[in-house]
Amino acid sequence: MRSVSIIGAGLTEFGEHWERSFRELIAEAGIKAIQDSGIEGKDIQAAYGGCMASGRFIGQEHIGALIADQLGLNPIPSTRLEAACASGGVALRNAYLAIASGAHDVVAVGGIEKMTEISTEEAAIALGGAGDQETELFHGASFPALYALMARRHMHEFKTTEEQLASVSVKNHKNAVNNPYAQFRKEISLEQVMNSGYVASPLKLLDCSPITDGAAAIILCESEKARQFCENPVEIIASAQASDSLALSGRAVLTELKATLAAAKGAYMQAGITADMIDFAEVHDCFTIAEILAIEDLGFVHKGSGGKATEDGETAIDGRIPINTSGGLKAKGHPVGATGIAQSIEAYYQLRGRAKERQLKEAEIGLTHNVGGSGATAVVHIFRKLEGKR
């Protein structure tokens, strides 16, 4: 397998883009990534795009071809990948494999979702399709309800509190203040989270990531060639993906995601490192409980202690293991197909020293963790600065 590096990145602001179309968002992110990378359009040999539910959200399918068309890249092969909220992470992994395998040298990979063109109730149905339609959504299990079942069990087994869940939101909103692309660039207090209404108890409105429009794109290049285009590429030193039962009823336990455990194990093995060597991570906090499960399953804290670790500031930007310096899905926003790519862009910015006010002092190795559904897909990538001669 050949080494693969990121040489450029671009993203749109995340938020409610009522005035702009799906294809305009794709074009903005894609063109920014190409310009940032120093390549030209003609250098790109293939494109991959993550998108969960454009058919439901805007009535448009065939997103692979649309991406190449909008970016003026025809006739390169261009493929859409779907794995619910992990669509972006899966697209990244497939683009990575295309270069690692030797099939291509330079590949564009993006993620997109335009979620605000339909009502919140319709969006809930579209997102509910990430779980098991026949045994969950059919019975009225909204997506927050599935994570609420996990949260309640975690509270039962480990004495995790609603305040500890809320502290995830407070931290991520604080981080988003310094992210110009974030949907919610304002701090919220613990009281505000606790006083927000229940969506599905014990999860409240401010425990949930929002509905967001946005696109993100990066350019990947074989690492030997990467230096021709870019002074300081960021190498992808691990890419791992795992699956689990679509429905919660198929899981032996509710307080861990087996797909995350498997993907993390594979990624740490590929990179030849352990969890304690990770300097920072972008994890999938679609709900506050999801971040707590993630930091436990990725090995940053012991199982059951994720709530307390967050409350104690261990995952704050100045803590032992900074989590979601971008603001995470909660505050940066969660355009589902774009999320996996946006996470990798935060890792890229941190490792290249381009994260400005939220820049970490010691950022050598970063990890991203993208989850589909209630944990039926998990994708883990690990990044570091490309070493070797300039």
């Binding site: 109730e121 969950e136 059919f138 019975h139 609420a148 969506v199 599905a200 919660l248 509710l254």
Partner: protein, 131 residues
Amino acid sequence: MTVPLVWRNYPERYNLLGNFCENCGSAYFPARPVCPKCRRKGRLVVQEMPHTGKIISFTEVFVAPEGFENEAPYFLALIELDNGAKILSQIVDSKREKIRIGAKVDKCFRKIADNDKEGAIAYGYKFKIIE
């Protein structure tokens, strides 16, 4: 929800028909095409699930997906049936203070949804707390 889907799932939703692997003794609901533990060695036979079990976790849904707006708020629970199979269901006809982890539940037959464009009304299982 579509008419063929509602019709196709009558045995599962009316009678809790799942299946059981005679090789390893695992019960599955809904029925699985392959026993994930035994794969080709598995011997799957149709089996009706027990109608009683206990709550593993629960939530009260306040913001409902389309089609359930009139039901909200309602309780959902993940239930472990007496044979070990798990099932997600609404909890109805029960005092809210009785709905807790470990509570025993029994299956009942209820209307699930009536928002189908062609007018099909979907029935199926819900569960209630038993003392």
